[in-house]
Amino acid sequence: MTNSIAELENDADVILITGSNTTQMHPVISSFIKRAVRAGRTKVIVADPRRIDMVELAEIWLRQRGGTDVAWLNGLIHVILAEDLYDHEFVEQRTEGLAELKEAVAPYTPDRVEQISGIPADKLRSAARLYASAKAGSIVYAMGITQHISGTDAVKSLANLAMICGNLGIPGGGVNPLRGQNNVQGACDLGALPNVLPGYQLVTNVEARARFAESWGVTGLPDRPGLTVVEVVHGAVEGSVKALYVMGENPMVSDPDLHHVKKGLRSLDLLVVQDLFLTETAQIADVVLPAACFAEKDGTFTNTERRVQRVRKAVDPPGQARSDGDIICDLATRMGYPMAYDSASDIFDELARLTPQYRGMSYGRLEGEGLQWPCPTSSHPGTKFLHKGVFPRGRGKLHPVEWIPPAEERSRRFPFLLNTGRVLYQYHTGSMTRRSEGPNERYPECRVEMHPADAKRLKIRDGDWVQVTSRRGSLKARAAVGRVTPEGSVFIPFHFAEAAANNLTIAALDPVAKIPSYKVCAVRVAKAQP
């Protein structure tokens, strides 16, 4: 997030929520927004194909067809530029590329956008006017925006929208991705990405590599960007990847096109899985290592507003389970690289030295409310919102982007669009929440959400078993008939291994971010026997 969570309640006067089912995925953040709306401080625009809870609070609801985000965002920008509602001062002083952007969005007239996205032209215009009128307009988004083959473009469009309205670098004004998992931010910050070292320092950068090599006491570091999760699976299928070490992930449920994943993982010479439970992935591993959970170790997580906070040990791990960090040190040592730390705090000191955004942090300073990066020196108070005064690259670039149709569209054989995601009561592949009685009682099994009109046509009643089939696979689950999902679409949560939504999904990737297109693929639905 470029802003802080509290700014959504206190400072933003218009919030555009898109691709985020906030009340279900980030309930506590949704309360901040709901309070602001209730107090009359904030107006909300929701852009989402599903009638999510936030629609009830919204001033305007744009119900776009799946996979058309770049089109309607370009449409919004078109209206704001055409009606001269943009922030001239900000655009002139802090950005570049207005002419190119203007040209790119010119064809996205409200009428054309209506044809592509299904959003009525008038609604698009009102939304554009409302967002442009904000003193501090905030954009809140999540996987609903990024999990498309054009996800990177959609994120660029959001940045374009924010910049032309001067909604960056001020309290409450910004672009705010909500992270689905507790430490996505920290994993990205600290080098768990194939193209960057900790602190987003490119592996192709000679000086960065030299700095790390020296600190790590090795002669050199690999200079070619590595493979992403989905590419690793392809590599395993092809045979170029021979060994995979999995720390606390469950690709056998979470990754797209599970048949392909299974084939890949099965052809490895060595699959190691380190986890809390014998997950679907651990079941096919060659070696399984028992890991400690968050309550059993010390460390830090970085939240979605870049706040680094302490994790503290409360209980001992069961049996012989050990913390992930402890296991890694032991393994490194056995591979001839002695690795040992007295405490998590020592590891943190080392990573802080090498990661510019974290440099001023230490466990002592993280007591209290933690620190938000960037925090470059030990007296720096941390940063509540980003991009005040100047962007890292100087001027903010307005990126012209074109809408491209989704990788798969409805067809006669596959007449529904499938959207996958999460529900309030479950988390990720369910290994933790499905073992927690309370939440699991509320949402114990996979449900295929569909619109009453579709259900009626297919003679499906709420609770009936249905078979959902895509070009890649099939699953059986009960139907949940309701008005949240639009006609012509179905929504399936991906938490349930026995009815794994990712048997159906497509491994088509966004070309830049390599994010699978979980939000759009074509399926058919039929009534099934229990």
Binding site: G180, N182, L193, V288, T300, T304, A314, C329, L331, M339
Partner: protein
């Protein structure tokens, strides 16, 4: 900012514009008993335990709803006030099932503390109260409204803080009661089980069901940490007895992004921690089956196999999936293992998934 002075129990203390008498007194450590008041919620003025005497003002105004003004002379502990408060407490005691010995809130109940502080020696005899059925309709929250003192904290938490508006004070003839829409059990209502109502309830009326009979409040150790589920990073406290996490709570007093709120996952999805399915030994596949192994054997096997694959096929034939659920320190270490020890940039995690 402008400040002004008021006198409380003969002491001169400082107030700021907009503050209530209660806030000014509390800031200056002049204690006034309260029950419906909760620092994170809007004032309600319902229980009348915070009554005070203010010179020049008639009657006994409630400190939590009376604005403080310059020069006010306030008395917080007079015989009259003590009697008034005792009467209120005796009424509450008579009108509910306040049997501390068999209550899970014993030792952490604000009513119990107030009764003790006001030196009440017996439960007063009164009209027997109407018993209400206990709402046991779900696995998370147990509602026993026989222990409810109608402070409305839960209603304000649900309505004003979480903005869920699931419960309200419903008037039924002369008897008010906290109820969901149509008085449905919580499990059938619109409740999303954030548990904020439980957190603010001063008595044993609302309880985390899992914590019942798991520990008496004074045997709990509280460890502050960060939620393991979504990216909000809510600050919470693991309530631990021995080696098990009995319940999860938060508080507006914990500094952090969540202001004391949690959602159902943070608060109620902690059973997995001590779950019998947890892995307790390393496992190695032998003849197609996973069998228990020692750490030495398991790590030795991995180290030699990785080294072998690396020398045969090069470092880029090895890949690592790190985790968006592991700590920063662990992600950093795995990145170091991949890059410095194995020599590959093949490290990623499921940020994208």
């Amino acid at each position: 900012m402008d400040t002004f002075t008021i006198t409380a129990d003969g002491k001169e203390i400082e107030g700021r514009p907009g503050q209530t008498v209660l806030q000014v007194c509390q800031d200056a450590n002049v204690s006034i008993p309260t029950l419906c008041h909760h620092p994170a919620l809007k004032p309600y003025g319902g229980c009348r335990l915070c009554v005070v005497e203010i010179e020049g003002m008639r009657g006994l105004p409630a400190a939590c709803t009376t604005p403080a003004t310059a020069g006010m002379v306030v008395h917080t502990h007079t015989d009259l006030l003590h009697r008034a408060r005792r009467t209120i407490l005796e009424l509450l005691l008579a009108n509910g099932d306040h049997d501390c010995l068999v209550c899970n809130a014993n030792g952490s109940c604000e009513l119990q503390t107030l009764v003790y502080e006001h030196e009440i020696e017996h439960r007063p005899e009164g009209e027997p109260f109407t018993r209400r059925p206990i709402d046991d309709s779900n696995a998370m929250i147990r509602r026993d409204l026989n222990k409810c003192v109608l402070c409305s904290r839960c209603v304000r938490a649900c309505m004003d803080h979480q903005v869920n508006g699931v419960i309200d004070v419903a008037a039924r003839g002369s008897e008010s009661v906290i109820a969901t829409f149509n008085d449905m059990p919580l499990g059938d209502s619109e409740c999303v089980f954030c548990g904020e109502c439980v957190q603010v309830c001063p008595t044993g009326a609302l309880l985390e069901k899992r914590a019942q009979f798991a520990s008496q409040p004074w045997a709990l150790r509280r460890v502050r940490t960060t939620c393991t589920y979504c990216g909000v990073g809510c600050q919470l406290e693991l309530n631990v007895r021995g080696n098990s996490v009995v319940k999860v709570t938060s508080s507006h007093e914990l500094p952090g992004p969540n202001g004391g709120s949690l959602c159902v996952k943070g608060r109620f999805a902690s059973d997995f921690i001590g779950h019998p399915d947890r892995l307790t030994h390393p496992l190695i596949r032998q003849n197609g089956k996973l069998r228990e192994a020692t750490w030495d054997e398991a790590l030795g096997h991995i180290a030699s196999k990785l080294s072998e694959i690396r020398s045969e096929h090069g470092p880029d034939s090895i890949a690592f999936f790190s985790s968006a659920r592991a700590t920063n320190e662990e992600n950093y270490l795995l990145n170091k293992l991949a890059r410095a020890v194995v020599g590959t940039n093949n490290i990623d995690h499921c940020a994208r998934l």
